[in-house]
């Protein structure tokens, strides 16, 4: 696509897009670190992650302000309009992911026990997938590419299956080991958070589809056909 006649318009749009990419990277990194540390039983990063969440919130605010300015001053149309609208949506989703990551970090900090081996493996697998889905969705949005989005949808289906599996495993463990009830209950929350993160990544993918082709909520019809 050629450049706008007014060059500063191009610069504004580019800047907005870069802000999203930056926020996405921060959020992805925080999630990866927190999940790895949770599995290993390492509480070192927890405080930093919790503190850093404020910065992530500030980034969302900044993106909203930039988008607002673009809407008011440039009256963007067609593809430009979709870029600006989706930037607001994606920033919102990323901020929620950031909050969920913060919660996982808090749980890590509070965790009294070390994870049983089977649960640790499942958590590692699930958090790995969630992190991957998130990373791919952010990259697809940054590069304005639709071709990865089907994979994201499929991976999220897998993630949901893993969520069910992990939940069952934790519930079995609770029955077996009542002393660590609180910690195990927290772990249930963690699985829930990871499942939610998958959904947010899926939202980002849908936003990417809308931005590229103007099609809204493609995944809704796919979900209707799914037997999830």
């Amino acid at each position: 696509m050629s450049n706008h006649i007014v060059e500063t318009y191009d610069e504004d749009l580019r800047e907005l897009h870069l802000l999203i990419a930056h926020m996405g990277k921060d959020v992805s990194t925080a999630l990866e670190t927190t999940c790895n540390d949770l599995v290993k039983g390492d509480k070192g990063s927890a405080d930093d992650v919790i503190e850093h969440d404020k910065d992530i919130n500030a980034q969302e605010l900044n993106i909203n302000l930039k988008a607002q300015k673009l809407l008011a001053l440039r009256a963007p149309m067609a593809s430009d309009l979709r870029v600006v609208l989706t930037s607001i949506q994606v920033a919102g989703n990323l901020e929620r992911v950031g909050d969920l990551t913060k919660n996982i970090a808090k749980i890590n900090r509070k965790m009294g026990m070390s994870l049983p081996a089977n649960i640790a493996n499942l958590v590692k697998k699930m958090s790995g997938l969630a992190t991957e889905i998130l990373r791919v969705s952010i990259s697809a949005y940054s590069n304005k590419e639709e071709n990865q989005t089907q994979k994201i949808f499929d991976d999220d289906v897998t993630l949901d299956k893993q969520y069910k599996e992990l939940s069952k495993a934790i519930l079995r463990e609770i029955k077996r080991d009542e002393d660590h009830l609180e910690d195990l209950a927290h772990l249930l929350f963690v699985t829930r958070h990871l499942e939610r993160i998958g959904d947010h990544a899926k939202n980002i993918a849908e936003a990417t589809i809308y931005m590229c082709s103007g099609e809204m909520n493609r995944f809704d019809s796919l979900e209707d056909n799914q037997d999830v």
């Binding site: 696509m1 050629s2 706008h4 006649i5 963007p76 149309m77 067609a78 593809s79």
Partner: protein
Amino acid sequence: MLELGEVIVNCADVSVFYGDTRAINNISIDIEKQSITAFIGPSGCGKSTFLRTINRMNDTIDSCRIEGRVKVDGEDIYAPSVDVVPLRAKVGMVFQKPNPFPKSIYENVAYGPKIHGLSNNKNHLDEIVEKALTRAGLWAEVKDRLHDSGTGLSGGQQQRLCIARTIAVEPQIILMDEPCSALDPIATSKIEALMSELSAEYTIIIVTHSMQQAARVSKRTAFFHLGDLIEYDSTDTIFTNPKEQKTEDYITGRFG
């Protein structure tokens, strides 16, 4: 999605030539009745020329020649037997620069009814004038000075006077050629509000340079470029997700 209701103007393979130069290339388009359709495009793309074929105003230009068929309300308006005079009462026109006659406000509005013989007594004529001025949103401002000169009004009022003058002959279609380009934003807003009201009764086709205006007022938009019709769709679609790259480039300001 372009789903048209009842069609009132039907153009098929219309080409317009000025001497040997082709200004309009084989355009086919249908205009829906009682709605607002906008023609947009860069300067010199032929949108004004195309507009003027609908009321045969291009006839006044000697070197102008037209091919193809234009039907208004089912009737081919370029058929040899067609009289241009009643056609122009049926298809009225409002111009870019307000052009009231240097006569009184009353005489301006009464001009059309008089020449078309729409009224045979003064009371009836008074009624027609009042009704037209009311519909144009101007009655309250001028009712006490109907015999003042039309040229003494402000720009926005003059344009509304021209609109009143046009609707006094009870047209079916009103063509507007950049009606707000000479007006300030408030006057423009008033005219746009007026257009919305009028579209309940009249079919309006507006040529405009301002995409924002086309986006605000019209139900359907046609994008012209160098004499071709590039895309014609609901305004919504054109401005959020156009199908043609040229359309996208124009409305996002990537060429102009």
